[in-house]
């Protein structure tokens, strides 16, 4: 018997989104969103894309933390409850009915239009066959996705990395307390708990080794710089629970991230112009793998630095 597991996962996925539409309480929305992201990552895995699944799982963990930090203060001011009550007490009138019916009609109409133009089953796959037949000789590595990201489509990766740098800088400069000190005011005294300290001592090396493994083997198996960098950045969440945060060199880390970004732009340009990736593969088969591993390590380092800054910014400054 063939279990239609992808269909089941996608149905649950749609159910989660519909639940979020009709939920009023903020904490419930965020928890349902976490479940939604988990089911989405599972569906990516069933659809044969483990790289995207890992990225989605790691990203949704960070986004959930950011949302919870955001909502915590929202409830502390007492504004959240008022807003929720106002939303629940919508009066039944022509205006409120129109406010529901007009968007529904709009969305259903657009859905009908979109259904007329769905792609056919035999979507053109010339590029797929080309890439699958040649990526090992052109770029190297065993993972086609990593080869495309770092070889054929390396300029996309450069701009993606640039966007992450811009987002970190924007979060640091749009923020309310621009030059505020890091304040460590945790609710519970988890810092003094022996169980927490022991657990972190056991778990942290495993997280670091996992991240390093993902980065170093990104060109052979599923994974890569971005996913491994996120896994290493989760180490800092564990560190936040146990150690002090006042001695952290945030500004230095931001500067280091920009320097690594410059390296990320320089390395592929040099590799493309000198032909390391595209021509030397025939002469020296190992050079292209060296290029892939170096790019993965640089990207992983940059992503870990970026999410380090984002996490501490949100937890220590945005939260208060």
């Amino acid at each position: 018997m063939n279990i239609p597991i992808t269909e089941i996962a996608l149905s649950l996925w749609v159910v989660c989104a519909v639940l979020i539409v009709f939920t009023k309480k903020m904490y419930r929305i965020i928890i349902t969103f976490g479940v939604f992201s988990l089911i989405g990552a599972l569906s990516y895995l069933f659809l044969g894309s483990p790289d995207v699944a890992m990225a989605e799982a790691a990203v949704s963990a960070f986004v959930t933390i950011f949302f919870i930090v955001c909502i915590e203060r929202y409830y502390k001011f007492g504004m959240g409850l008022e807003d929720e009550q106002a939303e629940e007490k919508v009066k039944f009138s022509a205006k409120s009915v129109g406010r529901i019916l007009a968007p529904t009609g709009f969305c259903v109409g657009l859905f009908w239009l979109a259904m007329q133009h769905l792609p056919m089953d035999d979507a053109v796959t010339v590029l797929r066959d080309q890439y699958l037949a040649r990526f090992m000789y052109d770029v190297g590595g065993m993972n086609a996705v990593a080869s495309i990201v770092l070889g054929y489509r390396v300029y996309d990766t450069l701009f993606e990395a640039l966007l992450l740098v811009v987002s970190v800088v924007a979060v640091a400069h749009v923020s309310w307390y621009d030059k505020a000190e890091m304040i460590d005011r945790r609710h519970s005294e988890i810092k003094n708990s022996g169980v927490a300290r022991f657990t972190m001592r056991v778990v942290c090396p495993i997280i670091i080794i996992f991240g390093a493994y993902i980065i170093a083997n990104g060109h052979l198996t599923a994974g890569g710089g971005f996913q491994g960098g996120l896994a290493i950045a989760t180490f800092f969440i564990c560190r936040y629970l146990v150690y002090d945060i006042n001695d952290l060199p945030i500004a230095k880390v931001m500067r280091m991230e920009k320097l690594v970004f410059v390296n990320i732009t320089i390395l592929p340009v040099l590799a493309v112009f000198t032909g390391v990736t595209y021509f030397a593969t025939y002469i020296l088969p190992l050079t292209s793998d060296v290029y892939l591993v170096a790019m993965n390590i640089l990207i992983g380092f940059k992503v870990a630095c970026g999410f380090f800054v984002l996490f501490y910014r949100f937890v220590a400054i945005e939260r208060w």
Binding site: T6, V14, A17, V18, I20, V21, M26, I29, I30, F33, F36, F46, L47, S49, V52, A55, E56, V59, F66, F67, C70, I71, R73, Y74, F77, M79, G80, D83, A86, E87, I100, P103, T104, C107, F111, M115, L118, D121, D122, A123, T125, Y131, L132, M136, M142, N143, A144, V145, V149, D156, T157, F159, E160, L164, S167, V171, L220, A222, F314, E318
Partner: protein, 119 residues
């Protein structure tokens, strides 16, 4: 069964949520859900021939491998999505500190009152 119908439904459910939600955080959540549905759509389109991951492709039948190009592009899309979301959460924090509300309607009211006061 056509799987891409799920993503179409999802896109318009999140669009509905985006234009009917009254709190800013909920709108940000729906932007993220909309992006996830687009990512899922492209993965499903690349998956129409087979659902094996494109890793170590010389040991498996090439007919059953999913398309690696949409996956590579969607990795970039996910990174860009989280960048947009972090910046929007920061902007929401600023607005919340200034107006002390998270409701679109209430914030608009306070903002228009402020403008009249200045004139």
């Amino acid at each position: 069964m056509r799987l891409d119908i799920f993503t179409m439904v999802m896109f318009f459910v999140s669009f509905f949520g985006l234009i009917t939600s009254r709190t800013i955080i909920k709108s940000i959540v729906f932007i993220l859900i909309m992006q996830t549905s687009v990512v899922m759509f492209w993965l499903i389109v690349g998956n129409m021939h087979g659902s094996l991951p494109p890793i170590d492709v010389y040991n498996i039948d090439a007919e059953n491998i999913s398309d690696p190009l949409p996956q590579a592009l969607m990795l970039s899309a996910i990174v860009i999505g989280i960048s947009v979301i972090t910046v929007s959460i920061t902007m929401f924090n600023n607005l919340f500190r200034k107006y002390e509300t998270a409701s679109w309607d209430h914030m608009e009211k306070v903002y228009s009152n402020e403008g009249e006061g200045e004139q």
